[in-house]
């Protein structure tokens, strides 16, 4: 048998043919691979490069340092303090997270609740993300953690920055506070900072009104991340801008004095420079500690704030509208003099009550004051005089003067939530009650009752305008980031100087002439005398029967039923500089509000913050060393692909 036969030859030929065919097939496959490479790399390469970059690059926001809020002498009212924190990195906790928490718990106090929250946070995050275990630690606790660090695997001590209000509740109604961003705020503001977990934004007060200015601009750090979101390296950094500092017109020392005077009362007090409107003290009590909101309010704290009948959340200076009571007589007197009704010869006899339309308007003195002119009527706060005078004036002229003196509309102070009060008019009543204005309404308004309501801020504005003869309005903010707030020189009040003199003399007599309603509480030190007008705002109307039983005596009523005690005034009598308003809710037993106002005005004049030379040290603030930025949480890693 030969080694090779025809069969071998034919299968060799077939093999060669088929092998060549396969070679062709393989070449075709290689062509497909090359074509696909072309498709992916040349045709769509740019798109894929964008995808790869999106995979790789992540932005970490750097929270800017919030601007400080300082008083007129540069005292920091809101600043930033170090936030000593302890973070835990789950993947580094070699003995397990719970074990690590137990270990930390032996060094600093950790509640079970806190531990549970940490476990939740760790479960919700990637394993290498540091989760805060404890914040706002004392230096002692923080040091102790650092000391034990070698035995606490996965624990990272960290120093961040957080808002601090060194004076606690003393200034809360001016400054407001910062707290976590609400969903509504997030929806309304596209600032990327609002997406930062744990970011705090301004709520209430200056913190809210000037939030954009004190907030600053977020810096950003472009970082390279791997597929698990871990940062590999920083690619570039945009430092962002720290927030701007705000200078307030407040004097912290006076503010402290005022707050001390108001004490535990449900009360409000404003002190204002009559010449330019600078608010030097603004206090509403009770307050609350704004740091609570920054640290995270507990349920008990929240209930304490909302259930308190002294309404600590309300800034009564501008958020409370009260019947002005007898303080409103200042405006009525001004209107009467200006209208030519209350001439030097104009007198009204007070017999103890004013009868109109079958209704009796009682004077506070049962026997009546006898014959009164406008100054003695102010001095004695005679209701009958002002009832009659209001009747003669008519509502239109009273309304006009009240508005001239700044009532019936918000003053425009730089705080959110200011109320406008109410100066009633014929149209207003027609519109609101579908009922024509009655003369009886006018008479009620004449003694500061009825429909009229004002805020304490409007009252102090009125007193400042009467004292200075200028259209001044309260202003709190002196400068933002070194830029002075534009302020026009106040125009002269559209009231004759003579009328002003008459009313000022009346207000002087209230305090400084025997028989004046505030005479017992006057300032006796020569040159510091104050002028002003007392007021009692009825919380409720008394029935005849109650009047007969002597229930009009506030001391016999429960707290909530007592009248509000008001005082609005200025000092000194000659060349006035400071106006004040003081209201104590349900405090009309004796004259505590006048005593407070007297002490405050006395102190204020002695200190005389408006004339102290070292106000607004802007240049030194500008020369302050640049402050460091704190790094915060990243923007949540974006989806890959």
């Amino acid at each position: 048998m030969p080694l090779f036969d025809k069969k071998d030859k034919s299968r060799y030929a077939t093999f060669t043919r088929r092998a060549v065919g396969m070679g062709g097939g393989m070449a075709a496959v290689f062509a497909v691979l090359a074509g696909r490479l072309y498709q992916l790399q040349i045709r769509d390469g740019k798109d894929y490069l964008v995808d790869a970059e999106a995979n790789r690059v992540s932005q970490w926001l750097i929270a800017p340092l919030r601007g400080r809020i300082v008083d007129r002498f540069g005292v920091e009212l809101a600043n930033n303090r170090r936030n000593y924190r302890v973070l835990l990195v789950a993947e580094q906790a070699t003995e397990g997270v719970e074990q690590a928490l137990d270990q930390i718990g032996k060094v600093i106090h950790l509640t079970d609740q806190r531990k549970k929250k940490v476990l939740r946070d760790i479960a919700a995050n990637k394993k290498f993300v540091p989760v805060p275990v404890a914040e706002n630690l004392s230096w002692e606790d923080f040091s102790r953690v650092n000391l034990h660090l070698p035995y606490l695997p996965g624990v990272q001590p960290d120093i961040g920055e957080t808002r601090d209000y060194p004076f606690g509740n003393e200034l809360v109604h001016v400054l407001g506070y910062v707290a976590s961003v609400s969903p509504e705020e997030k929806a309304a503001d596209s600032d990327p900072l609002f997406g930062l977990p744990g970011y705090r934004t301004g709520k209430r007060g200056i913190e809210k009104e000037y939030d954009k200015q004190v907030r600053g601009k977020a810096g950003a750090s472009r970082v390279e991340v791997n597929a698990y979101g871990r940062i590999i390296r920083e690619l570039g950094m945009e430092p962002g801008q720290p927030g701007e500092d705000i200078y307030l017109t407040l004097d912290r020392q006076l503010q402290e004095f005022v707050a001390g005077k108001l004490g535990e009362e449900s009360a409000a007090c404003v002190v204002m420079d009559v010449n330019n409107g600078d608010v030097i003290a603004l206090s509403s009590t009770p307050g609350f500690d704004p740091n609570w909101f920054n640290d995270g309010l507990s349920g008990a704290q929240w209930r304490e704030l909302t259930n308190n009948d002294h309404k600590p959340l309300l800034n009564k200076v501008m958020g409370g509208a009260y019947p002005p009571g007898s303080t409103f007589k200042t405006a009525v007197a001004m209107a009467a003099v200006e209208a030519g009704i209350a001439t030097p010869d104009y007198r009204v006899h007070c017999g103890g009550a004013f009868f109109f339309g079958g209704r009796a308007f009682h004077c506070w003195r049962k026997g009546g004051h006898g014959s009164m002119d406008v100054q003695s009527a102010l001095q004695h706060s005679c209701n009958v005089f002002f009832c009659e005078t209001a009747r003669r004036l008519g509502i239109d002229r009273i309304e006009q003067m009240a508005r001239k003196l700044g009532m019936g509309a918000p003053t425009g102070i730089e705080l959110p939530g200011e109320r406008g009060g109410l100066i009633p008019s014929r149209e207003w009543k027609q519109k609101t009650y579908k009922w024509a204005w009655q003369q009886g309404d006018t008479i009620s308004v004449g003694i500061g009752q009825g429909y009229v309501t004002v805020t304490p801020l409007q009252l102090v504005q009125m007193m400042a305008r009467v004292a200075s003869g200028k259209v001044v309005s309260p202003r709190l903010v002196h400068s933002v980031g070194g830029r002075l707030m534009p302020r026009d020189a106040p125009a002269l009040l559209d009231v004759s100087e003579k009328s002003l003199e008459v009313v000022r003399a009346g207000l002087d007599k209230v305090v400084n002439q025997p028989g004046g309603t505030a005479y017992p509480e006057r300032i006796t030190e020569p040159g510091f005398e104050m002028a002003g007008k007392t007021g009692t705002a009825q919380v409720r109307r008394f029935s005849k029967e109650e009047r007969a039983r002597g229930l009009t005596k506030n001391a016999n009523l429960e707290w909530k039923m007592r009248d509000h005690a008001l005082f609005a005034g200025y000092a000194p009598v000659i060349n006035p500089r400071y106006a004040i308003v003081n209201i104590i809710e349900h405090g009309a037993i004796g004259h505590p509000q006048v005593v407070m106002a007297r002490d405050i005005l006395h102190f204020c004049q002695q200190r005389d913050p408006a004339r102290l030379p070292n106000a607004y040290p802007l240049t030194s603030a500008a020369a302050a060393p640049p402050r460091k930025q704190s790094r915060t949480q990243p923007v949540p890693p974006k989806a890959g692909g």
């Binding site: 393989m26 290689f30 497909v32 490479l37 995979n55 790789r56 597929a227």
Partner: protein
């Protein structure tokens, strides 16, 4: 006295002759590809020899040694070893089914002392040898006869089933494709081939329903619509395409590939090494590498054509087709042309077992080349 088989060699070669006869050009190409692989392993480790590049160098040097040693062995010796090798590989496959431990979610490895062995890799070579020897003894008419065909199919089918049970779909496919290709080259009648192709087309839906594992189905589903689950099962394909595409024309540069270095690529050192290469060297580099691969294959086909023994021809084609199927499946997989199946890129991907089998294959191919003048009568292989 029976004549010794394989005595019909035209001439015999000395050791030095054989060394000179090695197709050193082809070895150089293989070395180039291997070097590219080591460079990529260095890169995906973040510019470090640890943990892959250095060990892969060891694999490669060992592989080259295996290649040269295998090339020195006479083609007739390989032929005589064919069935033994097949039997050993089959036993190992069964052993792996019984004692093999899990790796990457599948039973594929067996430990023999310190050696981690993938019997399925070994089987690819053993099957080529055994099938070539079996077909060597059959004329074209015989190949298309039912009994020899059934035997040949059983030789392919038994290891294929065992590998499939591991489960390892990729290697199963390569075993089947390689085996069938050899049957085709041996001259199987179109009367068999045509109906079979039709049958396969009809069987695909059935296989989907009853045979494929869930994870295999998931891969196919993901392949058909990777965007639907871009963060889950579609992640691999999506990220691989981003890696390749973002390389652009010239690539991001050596060590500059972000996709692999930042772990966006799965199994970057094994199945997806090719994507890293495309990312760092771009279209130009990837095309150059494809040309290297194609040239090696061209040499392989040329070797097959020039061999005078049918066994040699079949073995050479079997080896080179094996190499080609690796490249095709891996390349198409990472570029999103076919579903993800666990197949490494030969010579590039990290792994000792795969490297040694590929080099052993090239060694046998080289032996065919060296002994291309050796003629072996058809009857010599006719044990069955």
């Amino acid at each position: 006295m029976t004549p010794r088989p394989y005595a019909a060699a035209k001439r015999t070669l000395s050791f030095a002759d054989k060394l000179l006869e090695i197709n050193w050009g082809m070895v150089l190409l293989i070395a180039l590809i291997g070097a590219a692989g080591i460079a990529m392993l260095y890169s995906v480790a973040g510019g470090q020899f640890h943990p892959w590049a250095l060990r892969q160098m060891g694999h490669f040097v060992l592989g080259l040694t295996v290649l040269v040693m295998a090339a020195m062995i006479d083609i007739r010796v390989w032929m005589s070893l064919a069935y033994t090798a097949y039997a050993v590989a089959l036993m190992l496959l069964v052993a792996v089914e019984l004692v093999g431990h899990m790796g990457m979610g599948a039973q594929r490895w067996i430990s023999i002392g310190p050696l981690e062995l993938q019997p399925s890799e070994l089987m690819k070579i053993a099957l080529v040898l055994a099938l070539a020897r079996f077909l060597h003894g059959k004329s074209m008419e015989e190949v298309s006869k039912p009994l020899p065909l059934a035997i040949a199919l059983a030789m392919i089918g038994i290891p294929a089933v065992l590998v499939f049970l591991q489960p390892n779909l990729g290697t199963t496919l390569i075993i089947i494709m390689d085996g069938c290709a050899l049957l085709f080259l041996a001259g199987l009648s179109w009367w068999w081939i045509g109906p079979t192709l039709l049958g396969i087309a009809a069987a695909i839906p059935l296989a989907w329903q009853f045979v494929l594992h869930d994870y295999q189905k998931a891969r196919v589903e993901t392949f058909l619509d990777p965007a639907a689950d871009a963060l889950g099962k579609g992640w691999n394909i999506t990220q691989a395409k981003i890696a390749i595409g973002s390389g652009g024309t010239a690539g991001k540069g050596f060590l500059e590939g972000t996709q692999s270095r930042l772990n966006f690529l799965p199994e970057k050192q094994t199945d997806f090494i090719w994507t890293s290469f495309c990312e760092e060297f771009g279209f130009v580099g990837a095309l150059a590498l494809l040309i290297l691969f194609a040239t090696v294959i061209f040499y392989g086909v040329q070797t097959a054509m020039s061999a005078r023994s049918h066994f040699g021809r079949l073995v050479a084609m079997g080896v080179i087709l094996n190499f080609f199927f690796y490249i095709m499946i891996n390349g198409m997989m990472v570029m999103g042309l076919i579903p993800v199946v666990g197949i490494p890129m030969p010579l590039l991907s990290y792994g000792g077992s795969a490297m040694l089998t590929v080099m052993l294959g090239f060694g046998i191919l080289m032996s065919v080349h060296i002994h291309r003048q050796v003629e072996i009568p058809r009857s010599a292989g006719g044990i069955i």
